[in-house]
C-alpha cells in the first residue's frame, strides 16, 4: 500500500474538516477501500476513519420510515426486526451479499460507495477509463460477462456491485450527506451516476462529503417485497442479475410496485418503465413479462453479457410472480 496518514475522527466536524483537500478517503469497514489500496487502485494521502462517529443506530422517523446511520454494519441492518418486517428486501439484499465476516465489517456508507468489480478496473495492466480517465476500456472487447447492459456508454460498461443499493433504489431511499456547507439530502436515484464520458465520477458526492445516514421512507408495499439474486455460486458471489421488488395488489390490480435491478447497470437500476407499465394493470405472468421486456428493450449487450437481458426478464417475472401470490 502506498503510505498514507491515518486520522481517527472524533466527531463529524473533525471528519469533514479532515477531508478538505484532495487525496482524502473516509474509512468505514475497509472491506473495499483496503483491498483497493493494496491493489494500488485507491491511493489516498490521508485516510479518515469514521467508525468512531455516532452514526451506528437505526431510528424511527415520524413519517413512519427509518433512519439508518451510515456506520450501521451490514449484518446489524440485516438483522434489525423493523427492517425485516417492513422492508424485507433490504435485509435479504444484505444477506445475499459478500460473506458473514464481511457483513460484520462493512458499513452502510461504505456499501453505497463501493466500487465496481469489473476485472479490467482491478487489473493495472489493462486499460480502464474509470481507473485512469482517457485510457480506454478493455472490457468492451474483452471478458464482459459480468458487465452492464443498461445505462452504459462507450467509455465504460462496468456494473455497480452493491446488493443493498438495489433495494434502496427501489424504496426511494434518501442519502443524507454532510459537507463543509452543512447537510444535504440526495435521493437514491441521483446518488449514483451513469458513466457517460466521465466514468471516474461515480456519485453525486462532492469531494470531502460524508454520508451520515440513509432514510427509508414509509412504503407499505415493501412489506411484501423480495430480493432475488442470481449468480454463479450458491453464495459468496456478486450478482449476475438481481431484482429488488415490492408488490401491492388490490382487487386483481397492481396498486403499488417497486422494481430495481442489480448487476445490469453502472448504478442500481430503478426499473421505472416496467413500474409504469405494471401500475394499475393485472398481476399476472404475462403482464410481468411484458413489463420486464419493455424495461430491457433499451439494453446494449455484447457477446459476453447478452444473456443478462434474458436473465433479467426471467428473474423479474419470477420474482413478481412469487410476490403476486400474496395479494392484499
Amino acid at each position: 500500500m502506498r503510505p498514507f496518514a491515518y486520522v481517527k475522527a472524533a466527531d463529524v466536524d473533525e471528519a469533514v474538516r479532515a477531508a478538505t483537500g484532495p487525496g482524502v478517503k473516509f474509512l468505514g469497514g475497509g472491506t473495499n477501500l483496503v483491498d483497493l489500496m493494496r491493489e494500488g487502485i485507491e491511493r489516498p494521502d490521508t485516510v479518515v476513519d469514521v467508525t468512531g462517529l455516532p452514526f451506528d443506530t437505526i431510528e424511527e422517523l415520524p413519517s413512519g420510515g427509518l433512519r439508518i446511520g451510515a456506520l450501521v454494519r451490514n449484518s446489524a441492518l440485516a438483522a434489525d426486526a423493523r427492517v425485516r418486517t417492513r422492508y424485507p428486501m433490504v435485509s435479504q439484499a444484505l444477506l445475499s451479499g459478500a460473506s458473514a465476516q464481511l457483513r460484520n465489517m462493512a458499513t452502510v456508507g461504505g456499501n453505497l460507495l463501493q466500487r465496481t468489480r469489473c476485472p479490467y478496473f482491478y487489473d493495472h495492466a489493462s486499460a480502464c477509463n474509470k481507473r485512469e480517465p482517457g485510457a480506454g476500456c478493455d472490457a468492451l472487447g474483452g471478458f464482459n460477462r459480468s458487465t452492464a447492459i443498461l445505462g452504459v456508454s462507450e467509455h465504460c460498461i462496468a456494473a455497480h456491485p452493491s446488493d443493498l443499493c438495489v433495494a434502496l433504489a427501489a424504496l426511494d431511499a434518501i442519502v443524507e450527506v454532510r459537507g463543509q456547507d452543512g447537510t444535504r439530502r440526495v435521493p437514491m436515484a441521483d446518488f449514483h451516476r451513469l458513466p457517460g464520458d466521465t466514468p471516474d465520477i461515480e456519485t453525486a458526492l462532492a469531494p470531502g462529503e460524508l454520508v451520515t445516514a440513509v432514510e427509508l421512507p414509509p412504503a407499505p408495499a415493501a412489506a411484501n417485497s423480495r430480493y432475488r439474486k442470481v449468480r454463479d455460486r450458491a453464495s459468496y458471489a456478486f450478482a449476475l442479475v438481481s431484482v429488488a421488488a415490492a408488490l401491492e395488489v388490490r382487487d386483481g390490480a397492481i396498486t403499488d410496485v417497486r422494481l430495481a435491478l442489480g448487476g445490469v447497470a453502472p448504478k442500481p437500476w430503478r426499473a421505472t418503465e416496467a413500474e409504469r407499465l405494471l401500475l394499475g394493470g393485472p398481476a399476472d405472468e404475462g403482464a410481468f413479462r411484458r413489463a420486464a421486456e419493455a424495461e430491457l428493450a433499451s439494453a446494449t449487450t455484447r457477446d459476453g453479457n447478452a444473456f443478462k437481458a434474458r436473465l433479467a426478464v426471467a428473474t423479474i417475472t419470477a420474482t413478481l410472480r412469487e410476490l403476486g401470490g400474496t395479494a392484499r
Binding site: 475497509g30 472491506t31 493494496r38 438483522a79 445475499s96 460473506s99 458473514a100 465476516q101 460484520n104 453464495s235
Partner: protein, 157 residues
C-alpha cells in the same frame, strides 16, 4: 508509526504499526500468531478469520490501527469443543483453511444464538442448509465441507 494496544488471546499487546499494516500481518508477522492464514489477502477466502470482540471478521481487510483497543481472538486463543469435533469428523485435510473455519464457526454459532438471520433462514433451525450458507465465507479447496458441517452440527445439536 502508531502505537496501538489490543488484547490478543487474553493478553494485552502494545505494538507500533504503520497505518497500512493489516490486522492479519500484525498478528502473523509482528506477534508471531500464524494461526490466522493468508489465503488471498482480498477478503475472498476466509482463511484469515479471527474474532474481534467475539465477532468474526476477515483480518486481511482490517487495518490494525482501526482495531486499537479491541479484543482479538485467534485460533491460538481458542479452546472449544469444535476443535475436537473437526478432527473426529475429518472436517479438515491440509489444514490451511482450518483456523479460519473454526473461528468462523464459533462466531457463526454466536450469531445464530443472537437471532441473526441468514439468506436461507426458515423455520428449520440450524440445519445443513443454514450452516452451509452461514459458513460460505470460508473456502476449503480440499473439499472438507461435509466434515465441517458435521462437526458444527455435533457441537451445536
Amino acid at each position: 508509526m502508531t502505537e496501538i494496544r489490543m488484547k490478543v488471546n487474553g493478553s494485552v499487546e502494545s505494538l507500533d504499526v504503520e497505518p497500512w499494516v493489516s490486522l492479519l500481518d500484525a498478528l502473523r508477522e509482528r506477534l508471531g500468531l500464524t494461526g490466522p492464514k493468508k489465503g488471498c489477502d482480498q477478503g475472498a477466502c476466509g482463511a484469515c478469520t479471527v474474532l474481534a470482540d467475539g465477532v468474526r471478521i476477515n483480518a486481511c481487510l482490517a487495518l490494525a490501527v482501526q482495531y486499537d483497543g479491541r479484543e482479538i481472538t485467534t485460533i491460538e486463543g481458542v479452546t472449544h469443543p469444535l476443535q475436537e469435533a473437526f478432527v473426529r469428523n475429518d472436517g479438515l485435510q491440509c489444514g490451511y483453511c482450518t483456523p479460519g473455519q473454526l473461528c468462523s464457526a464459533i462466531g457463526m454459532l454466536a450469531e445464530y444464538e443472537a437471532g441473526m438471520p441468514s439468506a436461507v433462514t426458515g423455520s428449520h433451525g440450524l440445519d445443513d442448509a443454514e450452516i452451509r450458507e452461514r459458513m460460505s465465507g470460508n473456502l476449503c479447496r480440499c473439499g472438507a465441507y461435509n466434515g465441517i458441517v458435521d462437526a458444527i452440527k455435533e457441537v451445536s445439536g
